[in-house]
């Protein structure tokens, strides 16, 4: 009896391995140093453990997924996406629902996974300043960023609406926890845009990419800008005189999703379950200064206290920030973007 059980068990294991051997997933991400970090920390080690063969591609974002799904020619199994565009894609029905019976999110930060997209890394939209201009006493809140009397100097601000309104409202006196309820109407959106209108004469540049806002700080072209924390860390490592604060910053995340009709849906689900584990996520900060979405990654000992202190998702830093509301973006982004465009073209 016992032997039979063992034999059955062994054959099951062998079958499972044989099964896994012909499994492949195609993953698309943003390329560059970001995808390189994902590849080294997540994809390659997970492929080695599970035996799932990984094919990597770069892509142009959810518009590619939209094209594939609408033409019925889906080739991608997993895509890395910004949380906001993933939420919109999910609302359009472009993504498969994720099976959280397979993917274990019990130790995830609440709000860093949705029905259709599971968080992969955490980043912040922060305000940064030139340390030559302001010394150690840089702005410490959005109110400071918008205060041109207290902090004279030129600004750069985001050229699209994503991450642009929240800070403006906080500068206008709205407490952090009420920002999204105030923004939940056209009047609220207009109030935030009016605050940016007020600052506009001092905004020299509306930036459109992370590389651009990092370069603006490196060149000393502006004295303050908003932007993504990892880019400023890289710029500072290159000698730029730049510092930033997590106080009132916007806590956001990138996530992994499965396009509707993905050819290897089940394998993709299993692969997502693997790379969401803390033992992979704890390697990511070695390659890029973005934090894990799985809290347990801080407990493995791979992330030193020093590294953790600088990550957006460390408990101390996360507590200072406003988590970005995906529901708000799904509901309002298109309308808010058009209203933002009015302000830009005035």
């Amino acid at each position: 009896m016992k032997t039979t059980t063992i034999l059955t068990l062994m054959s099951t294991v062998a079958a499972a391995q044989a099964f896994a051997a012909d499994q492949t997933v195609t993953i698309a991400s943003w390329g560059g140093s970001y995808q390189e970090a994902q590849s080294k920390a997540l994809f390659e080690p997970a492929a080695a453990t599970t035996g799932i063969e990984v094919k990597q591609e770069t892509y142009g974002g959810m518009s590619d997924v939209r094209l594939q799904v609408s033409s019925g020619q889906v080739t991608l199994d997993i895509v890395a996406s910004g949380s906001g565009s993933a939420a919109r894609a999910a609302a359009e029905g472009l993504l498969e629902p994720l099976d959280y019976g397979v993917i274990d999110v019990s130790t995830f930060y609440p709000g860093l996974y949705t029905d259709h997209c599971v968080g992969g890394d955490v980043f912040s939209t922060v305000y940064a300043w030139n340390t030559d201009t302001y010394g150690e006493n840089g702005p410490q809140s959005w109110a400071d960023f918008f205060d041109v009397e207290k902090f004279p100097g030129s600004r750069a601000y985001r050229g699209t609406v994503a991450g642009a309104l929240e800070g403006a409202l906080m500068a206008d006196g709205v407490p952090m926890e009420e920002v999204y309820s105030v923004l939940d109407s056209e009047e609220g959106i207009e109030r935030a845009i009016d605050k940016i209108r007020e600052l506009k004469p001092h905004i020299s540049v509306f930036w459109t990419s992370g590389a651009q806002h990092a370069q603006l700080m490196k060149d000393g072209e502006v004295d303050m800008t908003t932007g993504w924390n990892g880019r400023f860390d890289n710029a500072a490592a290159d000698g730029a005189k730049v510092a930033y604060s997590f106080n009132q910053a916007l806590l956001d995340y990138d996530c992994f999703a499965i396009p509707k009709g993905a050819p290897n849906k089940d394998t993709a689900m299993a692969f997502l379950a693997e790379i969401s584990k803390p033992e992979y996520q704890d390697d990511l900060p070695k390659y890029i200064t973005y934090g894990p979405t799985n809290k347990a990654a801080y407990d493995t000992g791979e992330i030193t206290a020093e590294v953790a202190a600088g990550l957006p998702s460390s408990p101390a830093n996360a507590a200072l920030q406003l988590p970005v509301s995906l529901e708000w973006y799904a509901k309002w982004e298109t309308i808010a973007a058009e209203m933002y465009q009015e302000m830009l073209t005035e």
Binding site: E92, V205, T208, E221, T334, A337, E342, L344
Partner: protein, 295 residues
């Protein structure tokens, strides 16, 4: 008489045959234009009338009327194109005149320097201007060290920087046709004018300038049309505040779910461009504008 008629009929047959042959020879080109130009533009028109829900709708056009920003974006696009064309004429015409008066070998050398920027990618030239013109760029550094001005002057991330970049990129498109037209003007005309008592200034304005107009029209038209579709230069040098139609087309593709929202912008730009060409052709003969004749 009979022989003449037969002759005439034969000539006509020859002509028909010739035309057929010419048509046969040009049919691959016609087919190519049909496939790569007419069909896609037709498709663009069709798609612009498809709404977000996939059915026929005018919503993509209504949006442009509802939001003031679209009118402003079109105004900026035409403003930038007119200003660039005007500045190119102001700089390019005298330069072309100067080169056309040089001996051949020197003129060729000058033309090579005019063409040199063509061998560098547009993106590189645009970023080069960014590096030169920014707050701590070379131009500001030199001007301040020479005492021309005290504080860094804002020359980029605005309309000024955008125009500098676009004029630089567009200049050869104006100089070449103008130079070609000027080169074709016989010097004897000027001599004849002065023989008849005209001073150099009068001879230039009454003889030389009108003869150079076809080249000037051709060059200006080319510069203007190319400017309408500019994307990279305003995006990099405009500081996010100079928004042209092509940039809005990209944002609309990213923002709205359907291609129609972007196609409609393309259609409006195309129609407005044709309207401007039509108005221009009421004042100027079109063959003159395209440089095909006029003599």
């Amino acid at each position: 008489m009979g022989a003449a008629r037969i002759n005439e009929a034969g000539l006509r047959r020859d002509e028909r045959l010739e035309r057929l042959k010419l048509f046969g020879l040009s049919s691959p080109a016609i087919l190519l234009i049909l496939v790569i130009l007419v069909l896609p533009v037709g498709w663009l028109f069709y798609v612009s009338f498809i709404g977000a829900d996939g059915s026929f709708s005018l919503e993509n056009y209504e949006r442009m009327l509802k939001r003031k920003s679209y009118a402003r974006i079109f105004r900026t696009t035409f403003e930038v194109s007119f200003l660039t064309t005007g500045l190119c004429i102001l700089i390019g015409y005298p330069l072309a005149y100067f080169i056309s008066q040089l001996p051949n070998r020197l003129a060729n050398l000058c033309l090579i320097t005019v063409l040199l920027p063509f061998w560098t990618s547009l993106l590189v030239r645009t970023y080069a201007w960014l590096v030169l013109l920014q707050k701590q760029g070379l131009v500001n550094d030199w001007a301040i060290s020479l005492g021309l001005w005290e504080e860094p002057v804002k020359m980029v991330h605005n309309m000024t920087g955008n125009l500098i970049g676009m004029v630089h990129i567009m200049l050869p498109f104006l100089i070449l046709p103008v130079y070609g037209a000027m080169r074709a003007i016989s010097r004897d005309y000027m001599k004849a004018a002065s023989n008849l008592g005209a001073g150099p200034v009068r001879a230039f304005w009454t003889v030389f300038f009108p003869l150079s107009l076809p080249g000037l029209f051709a060059g200006s038209l080319m510069v203007f049309i190319l400017c309408l579709g500019f994307f990279v230069t305003p995006a990099v040098l405009g500081g996010g505040k100079v928004i042209m139609v092509s940039m809005q087309i990209v944002s609309n593709i990213e923002l709205f779910v359907n291609w129609g929202a972007a196609s409609a912008l393309g259609v409006v730009l195309l129609v407005m461009t044709f309207a401007i060409l039509w108005v221009a052709s009421r004042f100027l003969r079109l063959e003159q504008m395209t440089g095909g004749g006029g003599h």
